[in-house]
């Protein structure tokens, strides 16, 4: 057997994609659960369970949701004496050049949980003040008293010489045996204390949350008969084992959305669309990313909020707190807002009848007629429509509109939030969004495809087969990938270059050990040097093989410098600042054979009244997606339903079914 399964644990739903070795696909969806694993198993059961599955990769928004909603473990910071306020001072700069509007985000760890220990090493790693173990023990006692579950340890120059960090971690582990301890020299051994402290603090805050979730997932899947240990989608677009993920919790940031990007790469090729805007709308957030020239845009740091960085290689995905579970509310001045608070999976939308009382986007979609209350989740449970209507009452009263119009206004505000996000990632980068096609996915994505195309002035969009679970599918297309970096400096042609080789040997050994620990036997390792002109502050990564010619690398650097920045500096020495290794082990990818239950001449299965924002309510025909054959075309307004999602297209657009079974939405 060699079946492949992809899973995406979203804030509201857990999606499963099952690729049989015959090319057949099966997918399923189940509400996410607070413990993660129950939801995964429930979804998996719908497609035959874990037994006999050869390989399973899953993306998870555990980390992202915990961060967006600041539901981290109670975390303490232990840092160098005099520097506990680094998390408040940050890198200073305001979000807006002008104006007072901005609310500066709260520090990741509050001041009373940020404690200090004396002890210093200098920039060359030489200790000039011993670590005060008494300070560390006193801090441990204070943390214990406060009920701290995780501690981040960041000392100045810990990335050069980790001896104090390691000793402090030992003491903390003795004094606080139940707490997770993360040290900066392991989490992010890079210069700049604020970024390193922020990254380490977030890693520590995430660790306990991720530990409990992933450990259970792995154990129960294996118990359920999964042949190989499951893999987790990483922020860099690759996958890793649960073992690795527990050691590197920050690499789970954007784990879910990264799967979408991985699927986007595949779609870009299959659809012949080199430029795609990917919008993944789940229960809690809408996540947007770009494919340009068939490749996802990447970054080396993820900003959780303004000036709250996590240094980790990521597919560049930006989020806004507007998803199906996002709560609609009125601000202090009576303005209608959607999100970022979310009802999540539990209690979920009011209509789900699981105790939710705040109106969500999903509730608005039902009331405005976009979603059929009898059809949501293929009728797997009955919806509380009256409850949903009641929950809109206060907003409806404040706006002085009926509930249908209020619901349509909520949908419009949510659309605008998403459209602004897309403008931000395209226009702000000098890219014209109209030169892109939109791919809408995630459970709520197809609901917004028409309104987003309209709002952004795009000419076409796609709702791929299995759109609701596309991120899960991406996990099945991703390779195992790890990145390593180590600071190492020297000037080409002068001193220091002898340190390169041992550094590469060390990184490659790490990479090989990691691959072995992952249970894999083949991998490609690529290596590189960060290079710059002496004294410059920013580096260019240049591919470099151990034992290679440094002068040739220097020439490659100059060529790249010329290409990127339009000039070279012939009189300046060139230095390297870091060695890098990336290891990729290719996984077997599923083959897709798109089947069809299509009818020759499908008819609308019904009609219902829909309130679109800014239009009078009207009757809209509703089709069943499975019945639509390749080449089928219908002009809007039209609704197409499938088991896990509903596509809504207003007038002015038409739908067409393409060769891969994808639904094209065009003007």
């Amino acid at each position: 057997m060699s079946n492949i399964v992809g899973v995406d644990v979203g804030g509201t739903f857990t999606d499963v994609y099952y690729f049989g070795d015959d090319g057949g696909i099966n997918s399923a969806k189940s509400p996410s659960t607070a413990d993660t694993v129950t939801g995964v198993l429930a979804a998996l059961d719908q497609v035959g369970g874990a037994a006999g599955v050869d390989s399973l990769s899953f993306g998870s928004t555990i980390a992202t949701n915990a961060l967006v909603q600041r539901r981290l473990a109670k975390t303490g910071l232990l840092t160098t004496a005099g520097f506990r306020d680094v998390l408040d001072i940050r890198r200073l700069w305001r979000r807006d050049l002008f104006g007072h509007k901005w609310d500066r985000p709260e520090a990741v760890i509050p001041r009373h949980l940020r404690l200090e220990a004396r002890g210093r090493v200098d920039f060359e790693g030489v200790e000039f003040e011993p670590l005060s173990e008494d300070d560390v023990r006193a801090a441990a006692a204070a943390f214990r008293e406060q009920g701290v579950e995780a501690v981040a340890v960041t000392f100045l120059f810990g990335y050069v010489n980790p001896v104090h960090e390691r000793r402090a971690a030992e003491i903390l582990a003795e004094e606080m045996p139940d707490a997770r301890i993360m040290i900066s020299s392991e989490v992010n051994p890079e210069r700049n204390e604020y970024e390193r402290t922020s990254t380490t603090a977030i890693a520590a805050g995430l660790a306990p949350v991720i530990d409990s979730a992933l450990e259970a997932v792995e154990r129960q899947l294996i118990d359920g008969g999964l042949t190989n240990p499951p893999r987790v989608m990483k922020s860099n677009g690759g996958v890793m084992s649960v073992r690795a993920a527990r050691n590197k919790p920050v690499e789970l940031i954007k784990s879910g959305p990264a799967g979408g990007a991985s699927a986007g790469v595949w779609l870009s090729e299959k659809l012949g669309e080199p430029r795609l805007i990917l919008i993944d709308i789940g229960g809690t957030t809408a996540d947007a990313s770009l494919i340009v020239d068939g490749r996802p845009i990447r970054a080396n740091v993820d900003m959780l909020e303004w000036d709250i960085p996590v240094r980790v290689p990521v597919v560049d995905i930006r989020s806004v707190g507007a998803g199906g579970g996002s709560i609609a509310h009125l601000d202090a001045a009576g303005g209608l807002e959607v999100g970022p608070q979310s009802a999540g999976a539990e209690p979920g939308p009011v209509a789900y009848g699981k105790g939710g009382t705040d109106p969500t986007v999903t509730d608005a979609a039902i009331i405005s007629g976009l979603l059929d209350p009898d059809y949501v989740l293929a009728g797997s449970f009955a919806l509380d429509v009256e409850g949903a209507e009641r929950s809109l009452g206060p907003i409806s009263d404040a706006l002085g509109e009926g509930v249908e119009k209020t619901a349509a206004a909520i949908m419009h505000v949510a659309t605008n939030e998403m459209a602004n996000l897309i403008r931000e990632i395209t226009i702000d980068a000098g890219l014209d969004p109209r030169e892109f096609a939109l791919v809408a996915f995630g459970g709520a994505g197809p609901l917004f495809v028409g309104s987003l195309l309209e709002e952004l002035g795009l000419s076409r969009g796609y709702v791929p087969v299995g759109a609701a679970t596309l991120s899960a599918m991406g996990g099945a297309f991703a390779d195992v990938a790890f990145d390593y970096v180590r600071s190492e400096s020297g000037v080409i042609g002068e001193s220091g270059s002898e340190a390169i080789e041992p550094a590469f040997v060390e990184l490659i050994a790490k990479a090989e050990a990691e691959i072995e620990a992952e249970g894999l036997d083949r991998a490609e390792i690529t290596t590189a040097l960060d290079m710059r002109y002496l004294g410059q502050w920013h580096e260019i990564e240049i591919e470099f093989e151990p034992g290679g010619d440094l002068e040739a690398a220097a020439a490659a650097f100059e060529a790249e410098h010329q290409r990127l920045w339009g000039h070279i500096r012939p009189e300046e020495p060139i230095e390297f600042t870091a060695v890098r290794a990336r290891v990729v082990s290719r996984v077997r990818k599923p083959e897709l054979a798109v089947g069809s239950e299509a009818q020759a001449d499908p008819q609308a299965k019904g009609r219902r009244t829909v309130s679109f924002f800014g239009r009078e309510p009207g009757e809209v025909p509703v089709f069943e997606r499975a019945a639509l054959p390749v080449g089928f075309s219908q002009s809007g307004p039209v609704i197409v339903e499938e088991a896990q999602t509903t596509t809504v297209v207003p007038d002015g657009f038409r739908i067409r079914i393409g060769e891969l079974g994808e639904m094209v939405v065009e003007r």
């Binding site: 001072i89 700069w93 403008r423 702000d428 339009g566 500096r569």
Partner: protein, 691 residues
């Protein structure tokens, strides 16, 4: 003029593309520059100007540079004339009396050509670590003339038609202390301009020349509409506020800045009548800097959603008395104008606006960069080092929330230097970076907190200069809020534990402004900024919020009792509010605040002597030319697309700050010889005709 109908969506797309072009200019700068001030401090700004040298778009870096930069572009066009700016030219300029701010802020400008036509100017202004003059890394707190502040560069061409003129750079680098780093920074500035030209060319290629040109105009009109709308919302009337500078570093002061706002409809006149006469020391603000600071204040109050460009300047008019500290006559020193006086101008505008629209403005901010600069021999690295620290602090409270802690003041926006970068690159050790407890001005919404930074010197005999303010007179509270705490700069000598103010320790005229002080190995210095002023009566702040601040260590229990009337006590190991004691404290009347009287300040004065003579001659020249030629017929004024470009004599406010000698020279070079040598037939110079 081509009147292509511009698709409104394309106009928006291009407007955002201009902004992202500027952002790319910034990233090109960051990636290719060398000095910490540029790269980590981001003390630079990037902008695209149109072919009339009007600001079209700018990037999120430094507001004080931005607004004044536009005037620099106008000056360069007046000096060179657009037709003399060829494809591939690169101009360097830093003269504060030509639209600049202070000498270390050096502009690099490159005309943007596409399809053979000049579309505008790419311009950036970066703070160079050194610019010669009496003190290492600048900020001579005791300079008495601009000649002591460094090398003054009029617009000169570094590149001519793409060919470098190395002698120009040699001349500049010969006059600065860190030529290697600074050459790297100049190259960063060059790379930034080249990036802009390339991006604009890409846009022209995709969308065509006319739509790009028209979108530049539409971008400005859009901002003008928004700013006019915002100003219309201010009730018509006259509003006034007086803010204060401690001293001028030479023992004079305090100085006052009087901001009068006359709001009428959708326009406003900003009148600085009554402001103190120009200072002997370096706290004067050049005309460009003064005007830029006012734009800045309006943008902070109304413009967070208004794209910052020339359009947003149009509704704002000025009266800045010549010879006052806000429009000084050269060679008055102006080094601190950009970092200190400008903050005071902004707080002054906020103060005046608070009368009209109290819900829109913040109380005063921490009000200084402190600006510590210096350097010496770095034995460890075997090289000369220069350091420039400018510091963040607390902003004032607003009607809707507490002020921000530890962010740059409104004249700037930058990232700090990580301790790990400072120690890696300089003979300094970072001892403490922390929030200043009790620095915030109490209020219903309190100010933000200032920052304390302590450094230890690891080299012998380092030179140390400072140019700060707000050490004596703290930032104002508003609507019943209290003042924030003032800033200070202290030193702790090697082997001692006691902190001393520099003026005490070294016998200086000012605690905040000095030059050439020596610090030795293991001496420490403490830079401490104050907090913002409070908004609203602190006795009305909810006791729970005061308790939170005490728990977090932001406010002490003593301060909670004294300033907020809230009694915080410990109960079962946690801090709680003692409600009856709080009620008692809050029943007592609060003491009135003492204020300075007008007679306490350096008075306003009319220029006399050499300055008066210069102003008279300049005024005569302008009047002479204007009476001779209307702008439409002036042979020295340029023309683009049927729009007249003013020469210095017809420019609406060039005469406000051009020196007589510069005007005479310009007139002579451009064939307006009648002005200085009687009436002769005016005509354009040969190079103009050749072009």
């Amino acid at each position: 003029m081509n009147t292509t109908e511009l698709d409104p969506v394309l106009a928006r797309v291009l407007a955002r593309a201009f902004e992202s072009t500027c952002a790319e200019m910034g990233s090109a700068m960051i990636r290719t520059a060398i000095s910490a001030v540029f790269v980590e401090g981001r003390d630079f700004s990037c902008a695209v100007l149109d072919h009339r040298a009007e600001l079209v778009a700018s990037a999120n870096y430094d507001p004080s540079h931005l607004s004044a930069m536009a005037l620099t572009g106008e000056y360069v066009l007046m000096q060179y004339d657009w037709a003399q700016l060829d494809e591939g030219d690169v101009v360097i300029v830093n003269d504060p009396y030509r639209g600049g701010g202070h000498l270390p802020d050096i502009c690099v400008i490159r005309p943007i050509y596409a399809e053979g036509e000049m579309l505008g100017l790419a311009i950036n202004r970066g703070h160079h670590i050194d610019v010669g003059g009496m003190s290492v890394a600048g900020f001579p707190g005791t300079a008495k003339s601009i000649y002591q502040e460094g090398v003054r560069i009029p617009p000169v061409k570094w590149f001519e038609a793409g060919v470098e003129r190395p002698q120009v750079m040699d001349l500049i680098l010969m006059n600065v202390r860190f030529p290697r780093e600074q050459l790297g920074d100049f190259r960063g500035q060059l790379a930034s301009c080249i990036t802009a030209e390339q991006r604009i060319r890409d846009l022209v290629e995709r969308h065509g020349l006319d739509p790009v040109r028209e979108a530049m105009q539409e971008t400005k009109r859009h901002s003008e509409r928004l700013m006019r709308q915002a100003i219309s919302d201010i009730p018509d009337g006259e509003y006034e506020f007086t803010d204060v500078m401690d001293d001028d570093g030479i023992g004079n002061g305090p100085y006052r800045i009087v901001v009068g706002l006359k709001v009428e409809g959708d326009g406003v006149l900003v009148d600085f009548e009554g402001t103190s006469a120009q200072a002997e020391g370096p706290i004067n603000s050049s005309y460009g800097n003064t005007v830029g600071s006012v734009f800045n204040a309006f943008m902070h109050t109304f413009g967070s959603d208004i794209p910052f460009n020339h359009g947003s300047f149009r509704p704002i008019g000025f009266n800045v008395p010549r010879g006052s500290m806000l429009n000084p006559i050269p060679p008055a020193p102006v080094f601190g104008g950009v970092t200190e006086t400008s903050i005071r101008i902004i707080d002054g505008v906020f103060g005046a606006l608070a009368e009209a629209v109290p819900d829109r403005v913040a109380a005063g901010c921490y009000g200084t960069c402190i600006n510590v600069a210096g350097g010496g021999w770095d034995e460890k690295r075997g090289r000369q080092f220069g350091v420039y620290f400018f510091q963040e602090g607390g902003w004032g409270g607003t009607s809707w929330r507490d002020g921000w802690s530890s962010v740059p003041n409104p004249t700037s926006n930058y990232s700090d230097y990580p301790a790990e970068v400072i120690e890696l690159t300089m003979p300094l050790r970072c001892v403490e970076f922390s929030l200043n407890q009790d620095s915030a001005g109490p209020g219903y919404n309190r100010g933000g907190l200032g920052t304390k930074r302590v450094y230890e010197v690891l080299a012998d005999g380092c030179e140390f200069n400072a140019l700060g303010d707000r050490f004596k007179i703290p930032p104002h509270g508003t609507q019943g809020g209290d003042a924030g705490r003032a800033a200070f700069l202290h030193m702790i000598a090697d082997g001692e534990s006691e902190e001393h103010a520099f003026d005490e320790r070294f016998g200086l005229d000012s605690p905040s402004k000095f030059a050439g002080v020596r610090l030795g190995r293991h001496d420490r210095f403490v830079m401490s900024t104050g907090g913002g002023g409070g908004y609203g009566d602190p006795f009305t702040r909810e006791p729970e919020r005061v308790l939170d601040d005490v728990r977090e260590g932001l406010v002490s229990a003593e301060r909670a009792a004294d300033s907020y009337g809230v009694a915080i006590v410990e109960s079962d190991g946690t801090l709680v509010v003692d409600e009856s004691a709080t009620a008692r404290l809050r029943s007592v009347d609060r003491l009135p605040v003492t204020r300075l009287m007008p007679s306490d300040y350096v008075p306003a004065a009319v220029p006399s002597g050499r300055e008066a003579e210069d102003v008279r001659r300049a005024g005569d020249l302008v009047r002479q030319v204007r009476s001779e030629y209307a702008m439409e017929d002036c042979p020295a004024c340029g023309e683009i697309d049927g729009v007249r470009l003013p020469c210095p004599f017809h420019h609406p406010f060039a005469a406000e700050f051009w020196e007589a000698r510069a005007l005479e020279q310009w007139a002579a070079r451009n064939g307006l010889t009648f002005a200085t040598r009687g009436r002769s037939e005016p005509g354009r110079t040969a190079h103009k005709e050749a072009a």
